[in-house]
């Protein structure tokens, strides 16, 4: 303790304390670059406000880019004249027409992008120029989407981030911000019900409700940076990306040529485009959901083929249900029918396959799949019924054994009585 007792005069003590505080401040501030842009803009109202918290979420900030990377200027100066001087390269608010070019200055530069993420594509700008958005922007229409409209700005997250506006789950909502706004889209003369229809579709259900990220959203069919409506004659190519077998069958069918000749948009004729609902066998019927009779005349060759296919599908569907019922009954009786249960999946697969084969529009081909499924379903129904017969045999056997045991018990009891008398 004696060693620590150093005599200092008050003035010297004050100087030492001040020096210490400065050193501490320097240590605490070490490594934190000055960013006068954020310091001022975090206090700005409305659209000018950019807080450090918001900007820290941005993938660019996380990769070390700063405000000046896009806007220029001198972020190290707290003098507004200096910080936002043209001499320091300050560009101010980037003009909407210049945004794709500005983003492209890095994102279309493979050598530069490779230093951050070698697997990232660098053709976005080229694609954008081919899109409806890009072409209209080139003609001076600044209402069309530019990079920041879809990707957001200052808090731009990578598409893999579920909070990103371009994450597959959020894409439709992002597109709908403009495309569902009737007054905004008025001058373009295109419908604005795409999002409303898509929200009722089987694709939306798969993506947003069931979380299947492979299910399609707007960009899957229209493209993202090169977004255009698919041409009428190319619709089947778009759908074929996922529905391969249906497309192959359709291409070989008579409908393919007929639709082409009449300028009808392939798959969309029967299934619609944005509001695609889960197809059902009723689409082959003559009721409100039926699609065939919109073109075909009642009683013609095609109508008869339609009726045959629908009848066969209904028959297989019913056979599978009957087999399920028989197996359920056997199971509830404690019988082991798991093999037949498993085999029911094959019958269901055959039904699915038949529903795919419909796109060939050939009753004979569909019937082949139907018959394969019928055979399996019939065998499984028999397995269920046989199990119930077996259960009855077991009960009869049990009854006989119990009677024999009862006789033995009575006999033993009488023998014991005789022995002990």
């Amino acid at each position: 303790m004696a060693m620590l007792q150093i005599n200092l005069r008050p003035r010297a003590l004050r100087s030492a304390c001040l020096a210490g505080l400065l050193a501490l401040a320097a240590c605490l501030g070490y490594g934190q670059a000055v960013n006068s842009c954020l310091d001022c803009h975090s206090a700005q109202p409305g659209r000018l406000e950019v807080t450090p918290e918001k900007f820290s979420q941005d993938i660019h900030a996380q990769k070390g880019l700063t405000c000046t990377s896009c806007h220029g200027g001198d972020a190290s100066s707290y003098d507004p004249e200096q910080a936002m001087s043209r001499k320091a390269g300050w560009k101010g608010k980037v003009d909407r027409k210049q945004i794709p070019q500005l983003c492209g200055s890095c994102h279309a530069n493979p050598a530069f992008m490779r230093t951050y993420n070698p697997s990232l594509r660098t053709d976005q700008l080229d694609q954008y120029h081919t899109s409806v958005h890009g072409k209209r922007l080139a003609t001076g229409d600044t209402k069309v989407a530019v990079c920041t409209d879809c990707h957001s700005v200052h808090d731009l997250r990578p598409p893999s981030d579920p909070r990103s506006t371009v994450n597959p789950v959020n894409v439709a909502k992002t597109c709908s911000r403009c495309h569902s706004d009737a007054s905004y889209m008025k001058q373009y003369g295109i419908p604005t019900d795409q999002f409303a229809n898509y929200s009722t579709s089987v694709h939306h259900d798969a993506l947003a409700v069931r979380g299947d990220l492979s299910a399609p959203t707007c960009t899957t069919c229209h493209g993202n940076h090169g977004a255009v409506p698919p041409g009428v004659d190319k619709v089947q190519n778009v759908c074929a990306n996922c529905h391969v077998f249906q497309a192959q069958m359709y291409q070989k069918s008579t409908h393919s040529k007929a639709f082409q000749d009449k300028g009808l948009p392939g798959c969309v004729v029967c299934h619609t485009n944005h509001g695609i609902h889960l197809p059902s066998d009723a689409m082959l019927g003559t009721g409100p959901q039926g699609v065939c009779m919109r073109c075909h005349a009642p009683g013609d060759h095609c109508d008869r083929a339609r009726a045959t296919i629908q009848g066969n599908l209904t028959q297989l569907d019913q056979s599978i249900k009957d087999a399920d019922q028989a197996l359920r009954l056997a199971e509830s009786a404690g019988m082991e029918v798991s093999e037949a249960r498993l085999s029911q999946d094959q019958a269901r697969d055959a039904l699915t396959k038949a529903r795919v084969t419909i796109h060939s529009f050939q009753a004979a081909l569909v019937n082949q799949d139907i018959q394969a499924g019928m055979k399996i379903a019939a065998a499984n129904q028999k397995a269920g019924k046989d199990a119930m017969v077996e259960r009855n045999h077991r009960r009869i056997g049990l009854g006989i054994c119990l009677i024999a045991i009862a006789f033995m018990l009575v006999g033993l009891w009488l023998y014991i009585k005789k022995l002990e008398s």
């Binding site: 404690g334 082991e336 093999e339 077991r394 045991i405 018990l409 033993l412 002990e420």
Partner: protein, 359 residues
Amino acid sequence: MIAALIHWLDERLQLDGLIAPLRHKTVPTHRLSYWYFFGGITLFLFIIQVLTGILLLLYYRPGANEAFESVQYIMTRVQFGWLIRSIHSWSANLMIFTAFVHMFSVVFLKAYRKPRELTWVTGMLLLFLVMGFGFSGYLLPWNTLAFFATKVGTEIAGQVPFIGKPIMIFLRGGEEVTGATLTRFFGFHVAVLPGIVTVLIAIHLFLVQRLGMSVPPKVEAAWEANPAARREMKFFPNFMLRELMAWYVAIGALGALAALFPWELGVKADPFVSAPAGIKPEWYFLFMFQTLKIIPSKVWLFDGEVLGVLGCSLAGMLWMLLPFFEGDRSARIKAWFTGLSIFALVYVIGMSIYGYVAN
């Protein structure tokens, strides 16, 4: 013909000398004599287990890729395979039930008192091993419920301080429940446990034979006061014929259960799916499982589950040493032991029911 054959054998093996003790053996007859049958019924069910187990072995294939399918084959393709497997499963459960009944009847009739302490200890060891049979056999069909029950069960064993983890790894044959666990449990079920149990049953039966049947203290006191009231029957054939009747009833019950409620196979185990909601162990482990569930996760400074596992192990150990604690103490102390036994019975039944109905 049969008499001639017996005579022929007797001349060579002196069978008469062998069964002479059985001829002289007697069984006390009183109003509680029927409890004596439960030991014999348990033994009979064990014999059924061995016989049906051997038949199942002809088709069963241990291994994660084959076990389920082989049991499925037994249930659907093998002639009377369903019957053999159902009887094996039902008799396993009935055997554990009758073993518990036998144990509690011995407790309440005070049959464990001197000089039968070792009979009690071997009986308790047999009960633990029989539960081990149940635990190891439950996994063998390799279905989802069995897989996760084994996972939970071995995890509980892993909670024991210091030795828990090595025990868990030994039981599982690794860190996780895999095909290695199945092969291991198969080995325990068909080789290790049967070997030990057979030896213990031999000792248990030898002790029963050597020491005779215990008479409840009150009946014994009454008989000492009035020797003329003493009643006995010959073990062979009188008691044996009655036991045979009990065995017939047991086999009838087994047949009825197997035919009316065939033991289900379930769904093949998939280690990559999540455990079914509300998974529970077999009924004979439910009282312990529920005990562990109701203990708070933290009891003072200690982990609740660890405390529960240690508490259950200690309770089982003390229960096995019951005769040594009771000894020749005063009637008042013995009454306390009876009270404790009633509490144990109520606790086991109550917690099992609670575990069954609880979510």
